[in-house]
């Protein structure tokens, strides 16, 4: 568990990130539209990779750090009782890891982390690991050897077999992002003692997010 004392400074943070998300929903992800997962089990199991393009916590620079958030909720996210594991790339310094951990677990406030934090009953991390990550509009991927593996691939047009260019756009602001490039999962697996799953051919979205407290 991560617990660090706050109020040492103002703890103001800003993050501008590539977000590479996928979950066990079918294409479209029920949570985006009706608040409930449309996975077979009615659960939500998600792996989300973040590449911080630019960001900081007070004076501490957080640019170019890779973060992975693995989460599993037994029912809809807002119904709570979720478990989460936070991974931070080993290239980050100790201060950066602690900053990321506090921000991502909602300790410093700010949406959406603060609302999400209320849906978890168990939280593990930050686990410092060697993360490799490619943020690409069509073929994003992130991997931690022997732990997790995610590979996005475009949806295929069933008529002619070509890659489909699909977006979900929220002109007035969305669930977590405003414009997502939609694909599907060529790989989406995690093997950890807290939870394990493996979902191929499920919902995948690549988006740009700009969050702050």
């Amino acid at each position: 568990m991560i617990m660090s004392s706050e109020n040492t400074s103002k703890n103001k943070w800003v993050l501008s990130m590539h977000q590479i998300e996928c979950c066990n929903c079918s294409h479209g992800c029920g949570c985006q539209f009706s608040g409930f997962p449309d996975s077979d089990a009615g659960s939500c199991e998600a792996l989300i990779g973040f590449y911080i393009k630019a960001g900081h916590l007070d004076n501490l620079d957080l640019s170019d750090i890779k973060v992975i958030f693995a989460a599993a909720w037994p029912k809809a996210i807002h119904e709570g009782d979720g478990k989460a594991i936070l991974f931070v790339d080993s290239a980050a310094s100790t201060e950066q890891v602690s900053a990321i951990a506090n921000i991502f677990t909602g300790q410093f406030g700010g949406m959406p982390f603060e609302a999400l934090a209320g849906t978890f009953s168990e939280l593990e991390g930050p686990i410092v690991a060697n993360i490799s990550m490619q943020a690409d509009d069509k073929h994003s991927s992130f991997t931690i050897e022997d732990v997790l593996d995610v590979q996005h691939t475009p949806l295929i047009n069933p008529m002619n077999g070509e890659d489909q260019n699909v977006h979900i756009t929220y002109p007035d602001g969305g669930f977590f992002w405003n414009d997502g490039i939609i694909g599907t999962t060529k790989a989406m697996s995690i093997n950890h003692n807290m939870f394990s799953f493996d979902h191929v051919g499920r919902f995948a979205a690549k988006a740009e997010v700009n969050w702050a407290n």
Binding site: C31, G35, H78, E79, M111, L116, G118, F175
Partner: protein
């Protein structure tokens, strides 16, 4: 451990509010059943409070998930010693939306009594009026605005992440906005009370359950459309058999 206790306390306080409303509906609810010409302004005030308590009892249960989310955020803030506004302010804001509705429907009911569309027993006295309400309520279930509001009620997390506001005023405002979505969802369902009896307990229980299924069940949106068909069919049935 403390977290658990705080959660229990919170659930208990919400439950108490809902319980009080239901206790009133089951045991205390009485109204002046005299013809409307003999009503006093006190009768209208009483009618308004009755509507307000009924709406609290019927609508608060299906809003408990968002109340719980807000409370989770607040408890974490409390632990961190960061400022927060009690979750009850959010509940208050939510209830304000329904208070406004109660005022409007009270006046509407009073007017309908004058038109003799409602009997002094506070139910529809005209078959066509009953059927018209059923048909309108049924059609409304299928309208984009209903589905728009319903999806927002069903997905409280997105509302919180995109529209969070700080402070007491912010909490009341957020509650009021969320309450408006629920209002957009259910206002016409509640007018069925005018058709079948404002104090009809069976209907009150049934409507509460229907609203809860629409909002909380995994396939609530499909259910809401099925309900629409059922409402229109029951209007046809009533019209043809009565």
């Amino acid at each position: 451990m403390q977290n658990k206790l705080a959660n229990h306390l919170w659930s208990l306080s919400i439950f108490s509010i809902i319980f009080a409303a239901w206790y009133y509906m089951f045991f205390l609810m009485t109204m002046n059943m005299a013809p409307v010409e003999q009503w006093d302004y006190i009768d209208i005030v009483l009618l308004f409070s009755m509507w307000a308590i009924m709406m609290a009892g019927m609508m608060l249960p299906s809003a408990t998930p968002i109340f719980h989310l807000i409370e989770q955020i607040n408890q974490k803030r409390k632990a961190r010693q960061v400022s927060y506004a009690s979750s009850l302010y959010f509940v208050l804001g939510y209830f304000l939306a329904w208070l406004l509705y109660s005022l409007i429907i009270t006046l509407l009911q009073w007017w309908l009594h004058h038109l003799v569309l409602l009997s002094p027993m506070m139910k529809s006295s005209q078959l066509w009026f009953t059927c018209a309400l059923l048909v309108l309520a049924g059609i409304y279930q299928w309208l984009p605005i209903k589905q728009y509001c319903l999806s927002r009620c069903r997905s409280p997390l997105g509302f919180l992440t995109s529209s969070w506001q700080e402070g007491i005023k912010g909490a009341i405002k957020m509650g009021f906005i969320h309450g408006q979505y629920c209002l957009g969802c259910c206002w016409i369902l509640m007018t069925l009370l005018l058709a079948f009896g404002v104090m009809n307990l069976q209907l009150i229980v049934a409507l509460t359950l229907l609203v809860a299924i629409e909002k909380l069940a995994p396939n609530g949106q499909i259910f809401s459309k099925v309900l629409g068909v059922l409402l229109v069919s029951s209007a046809l049935y009533l019209a043809l058999t009565t």
